[in-house]
């Protein structure tokens, strides 16, 4: 049984296999869109909001997913496994305090 994960704003779709996290499935499909960080629920960069669908979540760092976030169905893509097709919206990002400054910066 595989489920489909859809991100409307990114026009991104990929299949998710049983027992694999949403983020692992995106990486495995060769697609990009959700930021990839620690893949262990610790760094928060892959935070998404689940617009539609059911999932199982493993423990996520409270520093990034507190009770309010859980109530808003915000989770880390590396820590959820779908129980149905999912529609997601990207929330997290990698902050970049360290990089070469471009002209637009």
């Amino acid at each position: 049984m595989q489920y489909w994960v859809h991100l409307d704003e990114l026009e991104l779709d990929f299949a998710c296999h049983p027992g694999q996290s949403v983020l692992d499935c995106m990486i495995g499909s060769g697609k990009k869109g959700i930021q990839v960080g620690c893949r262990g629920g610790g760094c928060g960069v892959c935070k998404v909001e689940v617009i539609e669908g059911d999932y199982i979540a493993r423990p996520m760092s409270k520093a990034h997913i507190d009770n309010d976030a859980i109530a808003d169905r915000q989770v880390l893509a590396c820590c959820i496994t779908p129980k149905s097709d999912l529609s997601l919206k990207v929330v997290g990002k990698i902050n970049k305090p360290i990089q070469r400054k471009g002209k637009q910066a």
Partner: protein
Amino acid sequence: MALRGVLRLGEISIRVLDLADARKHYVDRMGLIEVMSDDAEQKIYCKAWDEHDHHSIVLREADEAGLDYVAFKVYDDQTLTDLEPKIQAFGLEVSRVDAGVYPKSGRRLEFILPSGHRMQLFAEKEQIGNTLGTRNPGVMPDEGVIRGFRINRLDHCLLGGPNIDESARLFREVFDFDLSERIEDEESRDSLALFLTCSTKPHDVAFVFQPEAGRFHHVSFLLESATDVIYAADMIGKYRIPVDVGPNRHGVTRGNTIYFFDPSGNRNEVFSGGYVHYPDTPTLTWDTSQMGPAQFSQDNIPRESFLNVMT
């Protein structure tokens, strides 16, 4: 230089989201030796085979990943006595922790670094040895003592936070560390990363700029050789451990390295090599025009995730 005063990173306590998963990673996979556990406090204590002290890594289950504290070992109790007023004169509040509060350990001094990290100093810890003994010890422990990623010892850590110049000034002025290397913004010359040594290694601790205080970038473990780094990389692949940066060499410190994450997202490094530092070695400076070669000198590609993803 005779190495006295602050000796090394002697203990690091890391928060993990699931202790059983952490044990599988650090003990079963990486090959650290579990020496003690505390069910009530949900902690396990580990060491690498070639360390004599009772333990160097503490893993504590918590609802957030990241760093609990770093503890540096100093030469003797007099060093603690001498350092306490100097840390206070620097402007930090120092609290005293009695012997035995931290298991197998003598008294400690504790304070918060300007970058927001909890740091301790201790002089004494029970020693249990590296299995070889100390008289005619030989060189090879019994089969099975060195296993997993073949880690020799805890080596250094990289901490993220604001005020890294102030944290570095504490290490230089109070703890007698040298600034071995520095990454700065090419225009503003602001410090982006600072590497500090109290030994002949390229670094014993490092700081990277992050707006948020007290962040944990990585803990690093020393391997015997670059060949062992590749062996560890094969084990990391076999066990599907998430990799941040595959085998490469750092421009800064010249270490042969691989970065990966524990099951709670805390970054780990295993590495070998690097140059020899002496107190008269000049500080090496890199700037943001050369972030590729500074970070990873075999492909010269800077990794977006590397300096910015942390717990």
